[in-house]
């Protein structure tokens, strides 16, 4: 009897609760880059950047190098292996001819990319001929089949990890559309058959094979000779294949350095709709500010990580406080003490659930009703069957009636009112743009909303309002400076991109920091177009009149420039009151007040933050003592 023991003893809880959730995305990716190193890869070229011809091997290598540099930032937990075939030397676990697995020290063959891997791979081309060498692996009269061997090695590399948790891919770079072209008759048929069988076996294991063909200008890459069968292309896809593969190659090089997050439920919450009807929702963070990543404090001498120990010290007695201290608030001339339990009790004003309070028309949600990034909610039938059904019904009603739901979210950190805004799914050819579900928008309380616009009307006259003509001119201007297809996915964060570039340069000990482009600067060229300039000038004339520029400049300089210049002057004068060098030499700086110390710092454009000791040491450093 052929019983799988895994199956017999399988824990009931391991059962995926239904087919549906089985499609959940894998969290990791294992990739084997399989690069053809045959002489043909070195002999043929294609036009690259700046109209210079680049040899195919170089194109493949630089593409992989760029891809690795992106990956180490975006998805550093993914694992890669780099493997050449049609090589002179061999290096692989199976000891197969014509296949060379490239690796560096302190790393397994299929492993997370390291700075060292990237660095050494960057200069692999210099040493390639010497150390690895290029040689056709498939020649008449020999039984060797380097393509078959390469696939086999790649498959063996990808043996690691379960297909359930990882997405496994082989990326094949080659410019040879007919690897068995030199063979004849039975030998060719036989090799083709075994190679295709190998590829099929690999795909049956759940590993996908992707082909990235390198194309010459004068010659076509005929996919249908072998590769369409090898990677399993339909006749329909065939026509599309070459252009999209070319695009893929470009995409690999120009990927954005963007840290990828795995889809994770932040919280499972109960949504209480009416008495006796509570459904289950999962919440997700679709939009959160991305920061340069967590900082690990290191000892600058040894570069070893540091741990932080916090201790509480009583200011009166200097003794260490072990137990979590109480808190106090000075009030009515005394200190009112609160224990932490009391504080959390005060904050607990509701069970930690989402309670529906009612619905409002969408126009009631004002632009200023916002405090934090929204949270996405999506139903789950995992624990309460029927949740999705109610959720979808409400979702559809809200979309149709243009309403949003107001609910109270009783989380422990800040219980507050939220707006649940339903969004329909939006898909484009590229995939899902907007997921279906509701967005939870955190609403402010009255104490959080300010009325700064109301503080200034101190005249008896009404505030000036633009007239028809002025509005028309503004409308014309708006038409001229229009961004037609603006989407929030348009701009990369320039500071973050810069940070990643710096990080890469330091990690790989590169001399130059790669250029990053600030995409957020205005389109000066577009704004300088005559039609735009004309619209702007007309609007300006209509609201400002003829002689505004002078007044504008006048006002500006007097008010802002004057004040700060004056302040600076005062500071400089004040700084002259002391003989700083003398004070510093005699260690008398500490006798001065902080304000006096700051005059020196101000006069020399130094930062004025920090405690008195910090100020003094900054002054001493500045004097070079």
């Amino acid at each position: 009897m052929d019983l799988d023991p895994e199956d017999v003893f399988k824990d009931e809880e391991d059962d995926p609760d239904n087919e549906f959730f089985q499609q959940s995305e894998s969290s990791k990716e294992y990739v084997v880059y399989l690069v053809d190193a045959s002489p043909k890869m070195f002999n043929t070229t294609c036009p690259g950047k700046d109209q210079k011809d680049e040899i195919h091997f170089h194109v493949s290598i630089s593409c992989i190098a760029e891809s690795l540099k992106t990956q180490i930032i975006c998805r550093s937990y993914d694992e890669v292996a780099i493997c050449f075939f049609n090589t002179r030397e061999k290096k692989n676990l199976q000891d197969l001819n014509g296949v060379f697995v490239f690796n560096v020290a302190e790393r397994e063959q299929l492993d997370r990319p390291t700075a060292r891997l990237i660095k050494e791979f960057d200069c692999i081309e210099e040493s390639f001929m010497r150390e690895i060498g290029s040689q056709y692996g498939i020649v008449p009269g020999s039984r060797e089949n380097s393509l078959y061997n390469a696939l086999w090695v790649a498959q063996a590399l990808l043996r690691k990890g379960s297909i359930k948790t990882a997405d496994k891919r082989i990326l094949l770079f080659t410019n040879e559309d007919d690897p068995f072209g030199s063979l004849q008759g039975a030998a060719k048929a036989d090799m083709t058959r075994t190679t295709l069988q190998r590829a099929k076996d690999i795909q049956d294991l759940g590993i996908s094979i992707e082909l990235l063909p390198l194309i010459r200008l004068d010659e076509e890459f005929n996919v249908s000779v072998l590769y369409s069968d090898l990677i399993g292309l339909d006749s329909e896809d065939l026509a599309q294949f070459i252009p999209s593969a070319g695009q893929k190659l470009e995409d690999m090089k120009d990927q954005l350095r963007k840290r990828m997050f795995t889809k994770r439920i932040i919280r499972r919450i109960t949504f209480h709709i009416v008495k006796g009807l509570s459904i289950q929702l999962n919440t997700y963070a679709l939009i959160r500010p991305t920061v340069p990543g967590a900082i690990t404090w290191l000892d600058s001498v040894t570069n070893r990580p540091l741990k932080i120990e916090r201790s509480l010290i009583c200011e009166d007695t200097g003794s260490l406080i072990q137990e979590p201290p109480k808190r106090f608030q000075p009030y009515r001339n005394e200190n009112v003490k609160f224990s932490m339990d009391e504080i959390s009790e005060i904050k607990r004003i509701s069970t930690g659930h989402l309670r529906l309070l009612g619905f409002k028309p969408l126009c009631c949600l004002k632009d200023y009703h916002n405090l934090r990034p929204s949270t996405f909610v999506y139903p789950s039938d995992q624990e309460v069957v029927g949740s999705s059904c109610i959720f979808i019904a409400l979702h559809r009603s809200m979309l149709r009636l243009k309403r949003f739901a107001v609910a109270f979210y009783g989380g422990s950190s800040r219980p507050q009112l939220v707006a649940l805004v339903a969004r329909d799914e939006i898909t484009t050819a590229g995939g899902q743009m907007e997921p279906p579900g509701m967005h939870m928008i955190y609403l402010p309380y009255s104490d959080d909303i300010r009325d700064a616009e109301e503080i200034f009307p101190d005249t008896e006259d009404d505030a000036p309002r633009a007239d028809k003509d002025q509005i028309q001119k503004a409308a014309a201007l708006i038409k001229r400076i229009e961004m037609k297809d603006f989407s929030v996915f348009q701009f990369a964060n320039p500071a973050l991109q810069r940070h990643y570039a710096v990080l890469q340069a330091l990690a790989l000990e590169e001399d130059d920091i790669p250029e990053t482009i600030d995409e957020t600067v205005p389109d000066e060229e577009g704004l300088a177009r005559p039609a735009v300039v004309k619209a702007i000038e007309e609007f300006k004339l209509s609201v400002y009149g003829d002689n505004y520029d002078e007044e504008n400049d006048h006002l500006g300089k007097e008010k802002v420039g004057g004040a700060s210049r004056k302040r600076k002057e005062i500071a400089e004068n004040a700084a002259k009151d002391y003989d700083w060098a003398d004070l510093a030499d005699n260690g008398q700086l500490k006798d001065l007040t902080v304000a006096a110390l700051k005059t020196y710092l101000n006069a020399h454009d130094l930062p004025v933050t920090g405690k008195k000791e910090a100020l003094i040491s900054r002054i001493l450093t500045h004097m070079g003592k």
């Binding site: 106090f328 608030q329 004003i349 916002n370 309460v384 402010p444």
Partner: protein
């Protein structure tokens, strides 16, 4: 700072028609003073009530008239007594005249400060304004109000009127109400006054801004449409979360009687090497490390500063786009307000023109902002028009921060259409949902919008200040329950639910929920919100129990050997079949447990448990045919006991007949039956012991 001090006179209507809402008035006014005691200790407040039986104010003494107005408290620096006064407002007996009260309030402010004080002077009127005001002796009421308004502006006073209406006030004479509204609107038009109408207790609590925050500009400078066209703007925060106050840590080390003790706590941080916790690294010697793949790359601040992104200060227009291109949920942060430079007529005109054109065309503007020089990053966001409804107030813009590409996580979710048909609502269910969404309307036409954020106070803060006040009187006061009025923010409005009972019932009828029997429901059910009434809660409890017992059926996953039932944990782990590694892990953990039991034993109290564990381990190792770990452990134990001269434990082992595992029990063993048994003899204490 003196110029920031506020002088405030509260004018409170306590007439009979106001009695219903006076508890709320008391709450909101005392909260106002409570916050002032913490945040604006130097502010001065006076209290005037009107609609009282008695009369007590200076104007009556001086010129006569102004009856039924009592100055409860002259203007003085805020203190605790003021709260006590506000918490016990008198209940009046006559219908008050709010105009007279305003005059009394103004008179107090004028007399007290005689034009010397140029700071903020404010009147705060809370009334329902449903009773007629007295006719003035000369001219119409409008003229009289007009004169008052002029005087108010001349004295630099502001007025905030909160008019309680709707369900909170009884049916009143429409004509009088209209006349009063008209009079109040004159103030709004001619002075820096704000009149708000509220019709629920919640909004009454939220309508009065209890904390005065001096607005600070985030940015002053040009909004650059292009190189040639710039508009002078000031940028403020429109929303900013008022946080729970940060309470200082209290040290109880110093005697509470000590007068000089500060009771403050200093927080000290020490940085120690992970490898060697004895050396302390001075803070200057630290360096920041950033992850690059598996490695950490040290980057000093100086290095980073030298090469980091340094944008120039400025606010620049990138372009206009359709409002529909910006989806509401992409707003990232609290909201900013752009106003034209105050007093700069042309800038105001330019802002007004663009805002109105944007509104008409349904466009928004995309801006790139760097608020300060030296800011680390740029902010890209969307500017939306805010057309002013008040003639006094210029048009302005709201600005919301938008995410960068890196901030958007493109998770994929299954389309609802791909769900199995049984998960999708059928026609009747959809109708029930439609009706539900339609009927449970919080903003019905003709009524005030319920739970308007502008008028909804933060219940947590209210509770905190309430508790603070209680504690200042009685240090061990318990946390007060959430205010009944504020509870309505956190729970569905019973009245609304009652009105729509049929809709609610139909919804419940059409949708059926059941616990997923496969998944244990242990987590979900007990968490179910216990309803506001007892019955609901009880129902839940019994439910929860019923399901709990089912929920326990699936074998509990044990992933570690615990302290309570080590033997059972070990057995469960050994029988787990979902991963071959469990056996090895179980044996390893059991060995560690046995060793820790022995080494942590005081006077042999753990020995019995340890022997039980050893027996279990032996059994497990025989079952798995893995004699090695067990035998090695036993030999180690033997040496251990010899070295430490422990005799009781070997005795115990011998008495329980715990031998090594022999070849006949597990083939891999190196010991014959005889050898295994001899080990026991060896382990037996020597007679000389």
């Amino acid at each position: 700072m003196a110029r920031n001090k506020e002088k405030l006179v509260l004018l409170l209507d306590v007439g009979p028609s106001m009695h219903g809402v006076l508890p709320e008035v008391e709450k909101v006014c005392s909260m106002l003073v409570e916050k002032k005691l913490i945040f604006n200790k130097d502010d001065e407040v006076g209290v005037v009530v009107f609609g009282t039986e008695e009369t007590n104010n200076e104007l009556m003494d001086e010129v006569g008239g102004y009856e039924n107005i009592v100055v409860l408290q002259d203007i003085k620096v805020v203190d605790g007594d003021l709260i006590d006064i506000l918490k016990k407002l008198p209940r009046g007996t006559v219908d008050g005249d709010f105009l007279d009260a305003i005059v009394v309030g103004m008179d107090m402010l004028i007399k007290k400060y005689k034009g010397i004080y140029k700071g903020k002077k404010r009147l705060c009127l809370i009334t329902n304004a449903i009773h007629p005001t007295k006719d003035s002796l000369e001219g119409s009421k409008e003229d009289q109000v007009g004169t008052l308004a002029v005087q108010m502006t001349a004295q630099g006073m502001k007025m905030e009127s909160i008019v309680v209406r709707g369900i909170l006030s009884q049916d009143a004479n429409k004509r009088i109400m209209d006349e009063n509204d008209r009079l109040l609107s004159i103030f709004s038009k001619k002075t820096r006054s704000r009149t708000v109408y509220v019709d629920s207790p919640i909004s009454l609590l939220g309508a009065l801004k209890t904390r005065r925050v001096t607005p600070v500009t985030v940015f002053r400078g040009h909004l650059e449409l292009s190189q040639q066209m710039k508009i002078k703007v000031w940028v403020y925060k429109k929303t900013q979360e008022e946080k729970f106050p940060t309470l200082k840590k209290y040290s109880e080390k110093a005697p509470s009687t000590s007068k000089f003790a500060t009771h403050q706590v200093m927080v000290d941080y020490e940085y120690k090497s992970v490898d060697d916790s004895s050396t302390v690294v001075p803070p200057e010697q630290r360096i920041k490390g950033y992850r690059y793949g598996p490695q950490v790359v040290p980057i000093s601040d100086a290095e980073r500063d030298a090469v980091k992104f340094k944008p120039e200060k400025g606010v620049k227009l990138l372009g206009f786009t359709d409002a529909s291109n910006i989806i509401r949920h992409y707003y990232m942060k609290d909201v900013y307000l752009f106003i034209a430079e105050p007093g700069n007529t042309r800038a105001i005109l330019a802002v007004s023109a663009i805002a109105r054109a944007m509104k008409e065309m349904n466009k928004v503007a995309i801006l790139r902002c760097v608020w300060r020089q030296g800011q680390q990053n740029v902010v890209v966001g969307v500017l939306t028009p805010n057309i002013s409804q008040n003639n006094k107030i210029p048009d302005s813009f709201y600005f919301n921060v938008l995410p960068f590409i890196e901030d958007v996580r493109e998770y994929q979710f299954p389309s609802f259409n791909s769900f199995p048909a049984s998960w999708l609502p059928n026609e009747q269910q959809q109708m029930a949902a439609d009706e539900f969404v339609q009927m449970l309307n919080l903003a019905p036409s003709g009524k005030e919008e319920a739970l308007l954020p502008e008028f909804t106070p933060n219940p947590v803060l209210e509770r905190f200040y309430h508790h603070l006040e209680l504690k200042s009187k009685q240090p061990d006061a318990a946390v007060p329950p959430l205010d009944e009025t504020l509870k309505r923010i956190t729970e569905p409005d019973l009245e609304l639910d009652f009105e729509n009972k049929s809709v609610l019932d139909s919804l419940c009828k059409h949708f059926e929920l059941k616990e997923n029997s496969k998944k244990s429901a242990r987590r979900l059910l007990p968490e179910k919100p216990s309803g506001s009434n007892g019955e609901d809660g009880n129902g839940n409890v019994s439910d929860a129990r019923a399901v709990d017992s089912i929920g326990q059926e699936p074998v509990v996953k044990i992933e570690k050997i615990g302290d309570l039932t080590p033997v059972q944990d070990f057995e469960v782990m050994m029988t787990r079949r979902d991963n071959p590694e469990w056996v090895g892990k179980a044996i390893r953990e059991m060995r560690d447990k046995i060793l820790s039991l022995l080494t942590n034993s005081h006077g042999g109290d753990n020995y019995l448990v340890a022997v039980e564990c050893i027996i279990a381990l032996r059994k497990g190792c025989i079952l798995e045919q893995e004699p090695g770990p067990y035998n090695n452990l036993m030999r180690y134990l033997y040496r251990y006991c010899q070295e430490k001269e422990i005799s009781t434990f070997p005795k115990l082992l011998a008495s329980m007949d715990v031998t090594l595992i022999s070849k006949s029990e597990a083939v891999d063993s190196n010991f014959t039956d005889d050898e295994a048994r001899r080990f026991l003899d060896k382990i037996k204490p020597e007679p000389k012991d």
